[in-house]
């Protein structure tokens, strides 16, 4: 395929970029590439999340494992997740500074007539790069538990780097919206209708950026999708543009590692060429 002839140069156009979402259009590439990007953003961009919790004291009404689960789901700032090692790549035997972050939580309720909220703001991180995220000073934090007078929680948490393929708590995205062909010109979908399709099915907002079909347009059965609309919403642990950048980086890494695997096959195994039967 002539990848870089002017007509089919792949292109990205960013339409909207805020602190927590990005919308962009990917053009002149194929469905498999767009889908690979989508899959990687959902499940293979590395973040930091609490992975092990040691309970020193828990006199709250909630069970240990219940609190441990809630702690795991708290988003931690992962903008510098690439500066930390995966636990499996680290030489240490358990958790060290190279591959983990320790966070402590110690809250006791001493007030008489009111419950005390334990929130993500009570988590004290040992590493200022990896802290629970907050939206400014007014943010109350994420509720973990509520305590009555005399109840106390004291835990030690170990946060580690991971990917959402292993557990969804490591996902940097809340949602990845992905659409192509908003006018259904390719007929990849079938709309169920009572009488009139145009009346009953509202148009997607991406329809404004696509080319509406002519009234007498003939169905082109050789057409392939080549405009892809993405909208990524983060959970706050990473900037949306960083998620896309990291996804590209990860995709490149994956291709290169397959390439390495292919080339390592050039070396004959056990000193002889692999046999090739020809008939």
């Amino acid at each position: 395929m002539d990848l870089f002839s002017p007509a089919n140069k792949p292109e990205i156009r960013i339409q909207e970029l805020t602190g927590e979402r990005i919308r962009f259009i990917l053009t002149n590439t194929d469905l498999s590439m767009a889908n690979a990007l989508r899959r990687i953003m959902i499940s293979e961009v590395a973040t930091i999340a609490i992975d092990m919790v040691q309970f020193d004291l828990n006199t709250s009404v909630l069970a240990d494992e219940f609190i441990a689960h809630r702690l795991g789901l708290i988003p931690l700032d992962s903008t510098e997740a690439d500066k930390i090692k995966y636990p499996r790549d680290c030489n240490c035997s358990g958790a060290c500074k190279e591959c983990s972050v320790e966070l402590n939580l110690h809250v006791k309720c001493t007030e008489e007539d009111t419950t005390k909220d334990v929130t993500s703001k009570d988590l004290v991180s040992h590493d200022p790069r990896f802290t629970p995220i907050t939206e400014g000073p007014k943010d109350a934090g994420i509720l973990i538990a509520k305590l009555r007078k005399g109840q106390e929680i004291k835990v030690k948490c170990i946060a580690k780097k991971g990917v959402a393929k292993e557990h969804a708590k490591w996902s940097p995205c809340a949602a990845v919206a992905f659409e192509y062909d908003p006018f259904n010109k390719l007929r990849h979908t079938h709309y169920w209708i009572e009488e009139d399709e145009k009346k009953e099915w509202p148009q997607s907002k991406n329809a404004n950026d696509d080319f509406p079909p002519l009234d007498d347009e003939i169905f082109d059965f050789t057409a392939k999708p080549n405009r892809f609309y993405f909208e990524i919403e983060t959970i706050g642990s990473m900037k949306p543009e960083d998620i896309v950048m990291n996804a590209f980086k990860k995709l490149l890494e994956k291709i290169s590692s397959i390439q390495m695997g292919l080339h390592s096959n050039d070396v004959p195994i056990n000193g002889r060429e692999p046999t090739r039967d020809v008939f």
Partner: protein
Amino acid sequence: MKITPDTKVQNAATFEIFREDHTMGNVIRHKLLQEPQVIFAGYKIPHPLEHNVIIRVQTTNETKPEAMVAKALNDLITEVGYLRTKFMVHK
């Protein structure tokens, strides 16, 4: 990766890629199918609990499956690298 040449068909081979899924399987298959020298390209994940992808490729006599897969991977790297720089510039 494990490459097994086909015993009965000329210029055909299966490539087993370990620890990969539809993300890479589909994208490589798609690139292979864009090459005129590729007669057949398909991929499968034989079992959901084993994280391997098997790609089968058959080419014309002009070339070999290994060469076409290598070319597909090269093309992918240029395409992704190009998109990445595009995104960096626009950001």
